[in-house]
């Protein structure tokens, strides 16, 4: 594979260098007639709007007062109706499979018996929660909310890069990006038929309520559990609670009272039926998990087991989005749905396998290497963008603990233009659609969050690494 920048990438607006692609035609017509100075002014207004609204995130390890904005680009990423149909079918299939896999892994483990996934990969995985064995989460749902990261490499080539089945974040940006676009360029939405995203919070509330536990009486009480205002995603937690009309709670607001998890209100303790938790499994219950955690609720586990509360996502879902397991997803999908995966995986080398490791070490400068349990773009190597020194240092880490890594080819991610002072300039993007699951079915919000690498040639779109976002449009049929 060649170095970044020296090969041609598929541009979603221009195709392979030809005319404007169909989904972008209406937009480009509008854009060409606009004064760049006006768009520039609007872009600045958007930034001020994000700041006063407090749509900021804290970067770990930096000054606490240093709240940063995720850069927002005003050029939307546009997906045609037919492209979206194809994507959403593949996503739905994948989420169904993930859920069936979780149910199986925590019950009969048929897939291990059939030898389709190595037993070791589960049994020795930190994300596997033995306490979930035999448990039936209310409604049979494990992954109430998931985010499936998708990349595109050509007109008809889409890959799933990653599954997020724990606590995927970013949905508030999807919603606020659309709000911002509507405020800045209302006329654009009269011109281009774009599908709505604003019903996500109400769908989320419906979805969570549909999974109420046996102990629930009447309308379910839903609450969002946050680690607190210093968490990098706090804005999203409070945003979602606000939009759903749910309470935003922290561990110290909760305790177990009369066999229920209850929140301390001004009038005493009141039971919660569904807890949308945005803290990791480890921190949920200091009695049953990490004793040093102050983020969770002592005893919540016992209430959960007894059907007193729904925890969303269910504890133990991390086993399904583990990067070591990712390479088995095509088998997993086939095993549970009886169909071939509609959306392919990115080819992946498992460094725990000696043959794979050897090949990875040989080709390190051209590969992307990720930690199995890592996220947010931390601790990864992008071979083509790394210096010799960085590659050498990474090689040492990889040889020291190969089981901790997987490797993938450096994908030629598609680009979508961003608006710069000197006009439109292509930048690499990915896509995270958000998927809700309840006993009533699966709901996928049209589009999702488009993340964009703001630096020329960069393939890293993570916000913690300077990536930005775009509004994502799915066109009406």
């Amino acid at each position: 594979m060649e170095r970044t920048g020296s090969i041609s990438f598929f541009d979603e607006m221009q195709g392979q260098g030809g005319d404007v692609r169909a989904p972008y035609q209406d937009f480009c017509e509008w854009f060409d007639a606009e004064e760049p100075a006006r768009i520039h002014r609007k872009a600045q207004q958007a930034e001020a709007f994000f700041r006063t609204t407090g749509i900021t995130f804290a970067v770990y390890g930096q000054d606490e007062a240093d709240e940063r904005l995720i850069p927002f680009d005003v050029v939307p990423r546009i997906i045609s109706a037919s492209e979206w149909r194809r994507l959403s079918r593949g996503i739905e299939q994948r989420v169904r499979a993930l859920n069936a896999f979780l149910h199986d892994i925590y019950h009969r483990q048929e897939i291990l018996r059939a030898g389709r996934v190595p037993t070791d990969l589960i049994a020795r995985n930190e994300a596997f929660l033995p306490m979930m064995m035999g448990m039936d989460p209310p409604g049979g749902v494990y992954t109430h909310i998931s985010g499936i990261d998708i990349v595109r490499t050509g007109a008809n080539e889409f890959y799933v890069l990653e599954d997020n089945a724990r606590t995927p974040s970013g949905v508030s940006y999807m919603l606020e990006n659309r709000e911002t676009m509507l405020q800045m360029f209302p006329e654009l939405f009269a011109k281009v038929p774009v599908r709505e995203v604003s019903d996500y919070p109400i769908n989320l509330l419906r979805s969570l309520s549909a999974c109420a536990p046996p102990a629930c009486q009447g309308t379910p009480t839903v609450a969002v559990l946050t680690p607190g205002i210093h968490n990098s995603a706090y804005f999203e937690h409070s945003f979602l609670a606000d939009q759903m009309g749910a309470e935003l709670v922290e561990g110290h607001d909760l305790r177990v009272v009369g066999g229920r998890v209850a929140m301390r209100t001004t009038q005493g303790y009141k039971p919660i039926d569904v807890l949308y938790r945005r803290v990791d499994d480890d921190f949920l219950d200091p009695l049953n998990f990490r004793p040093d955690s102050v983020l969770g609720v002592p005893g919540i586990w016992d209430v959960y087991r007894a059907g007193g509360i729904t925890i969303a996502n269910a504890p133990g879902t991390g086993i399904a989005d583990d990067k070591a397991l990712y390479s088995y997803m095509p088998d997993i999908i086939e095993f549970y749905t009886g169909e071939k995966a509609l959306l392919p995986n990115v080819p992946t080398w498992r460094c725990s396998d000696p043959d794979h490791l050897k090949e990875v070490l040989d080709r390190l400068p051209e590969l992307v290497v990720k930690e199995v349990h890592g996220s947010g773009g931390y601790g990864m190597l992008v071979g083509p963008a790394a210096s010799r020194k960085e590659i050498a240092a990474f090689r040492k880490k990889l040889e020291g603990n190969p089981g901790n890594y997987i490797a993938q080819p450096t994908l030629s991610l598609s680009t979508v233009p961003i608006f710069t002072r000197s006009g439109l300039a292509p930048r690499h993007v990915d896509l995270r659609p958000f998927v809700l699951m309840s006993p009533a079915g699966i709901t996928i919000t049209p589009g999702g969050l488009t993340r964009v690498a703001m630096t020329k040639g960069s393939l890293v779109v993570n916000s913690s690494q300077g990536g930005g976002t775009k509004d994502t449009w799915v066109l009406e049929d």
């Binding site: 006063t52 609204t53 607190g228 205002i229 706090y234 309470e247 305790r255 209100t265 001004t266």
Partner: protein, 313 residues
């Protein structure tokens, strides 16, 4: 509503009130420092005592040098009552209670924090001080405007109002506590007038020097000033006004929740025992003792509100 959220609304309001009060104290102190350089030190000391920051200031600094005191009160991160610290705490509490605030209120609080942390990034030059103080007042007025104009009149509103008026009563009482000796008959000897600049400073520190003149004309007496600040119910920073508001908001809470509380009873007791008597009888019993007792009762009420409404476990 969550007890924590009630507490956050209450503290958000207290801190916002505190930032405004401290700005007013700085303004009054600065005026004296400019016009009467020989009483500047004493005046800064009493400002620091009123703000509850004197011992902390003395730990770090030697004398009451104007620029140092102003910097300490405005922006010293080591001073938890500095305007910068207080506005930051107001914003943190607003973030915690974000789901209960209207977009307008949150944006006003957040903008206030962004504006003031930019203004107070560096030490403020003496000739810029009036502008900075006026910006602080403006920010606070914007928050209050958004608050009054957009918030539902529900329990959350009541908790924030309680925070505002407990803090304000505390502030007015502290000003009286620090300055009470100026109002004693022995200083303002009978029939004579008390020091013009001094009484004006007291009134300025509650933004009421003009209101006083409208009300009492040229008659400046210790008794009248004390009456104005303690008992006059139309004056929005008087103890009587603040306590009326506390009682009113506790009343709403008790009715809304259908539950009488100890805090409610305490507020009534403060109003009837301490604020329904003529000013002369307060002076007869000793102004200083009166103020000390009021501060104690006010603080006890604040603690009881936190307990009754479960702000913390």
């Amino acid at each position: 509503m969550l007890g924590k959220t009630a507490g956050s609304l209450y503290w958000m309001a207290r801190y916002l009130e505190r930032s405004e009060n401290n700005a007013r104290l700085i303004e009054a102190g600065f005026r004296i420092a400019l016009t009467r350089s020989n009483s500047a030190q004493a005046e800064w000391r009493s400002v620091l005592v009123t703000a509850g920051s004197d011992w902390r200031f003395r730990q770090a600094h030697g004398d009451y040098h104007s620029a140092r005191v102003v910097d300490f009160l405005l922006r010293d991160p080591a001073n938890p009552s500095s305007i910068l610290s207080v506005v930051k705490q107001a914003r943190d509490n607003a973030r915690t209670a974000r789901t209960y605030l209207t977009r307008e209120v949150w944006e006003a609080v957040n903008t206030s924090w962004m504006t003031l942390s930019a203004l107070l990034k560096r030490q403020v030059r003496e000739d810029d001080l009036p502008d900075v103080l006026s910006a602080i007042r403006q920010q606070s007025a914007q928050v209050r405007g958004a608050w009054t104009g957009t918030m539902l009149r529900n329990d959350g509103y009541n908790f924030a109002q309680l925070g505002t008026f407990l803090e304000r009563a505390d502030n007015t009482a502290r000003i009286l506590d620090v300055k009470y000796f100026l109002l004693l008959p022995s200083v303002a000897h009978i029939g004579g007038s008390i020091d013009n600049v001094q009484w004006e400073t007291i009134l300025r520190s509650v933004s009421a020097h003009r209101a006083y003149r409208w009300l009492y004309g040229t008659e400046i007496s210790a008794l009248k000033i004390a009456e104005f600040l303690i008992l006059y119910k139309q004056m929005p920073r008087s103890l009587a006004f603040c306590c009326d508001k506390m009682q009113e908001n506790l009343d709403w809470l008790q009715r809304g929740y259908g539950e009488e509380t100890e805090a409610g009873r305490m507020a009534i007791a403060i109003c009837t025992d301490r604020l329904s008597r003529p000013i002369q009888s307060i002076f007869d019993g000793g102004l200083h003792e009166y103020i000390t007792d009021f501060l104690r009762a006010n603080a006890a009420l604040a603690r009881q509100v936190e307990r009754d409404y479960r702000f913390v476990e």
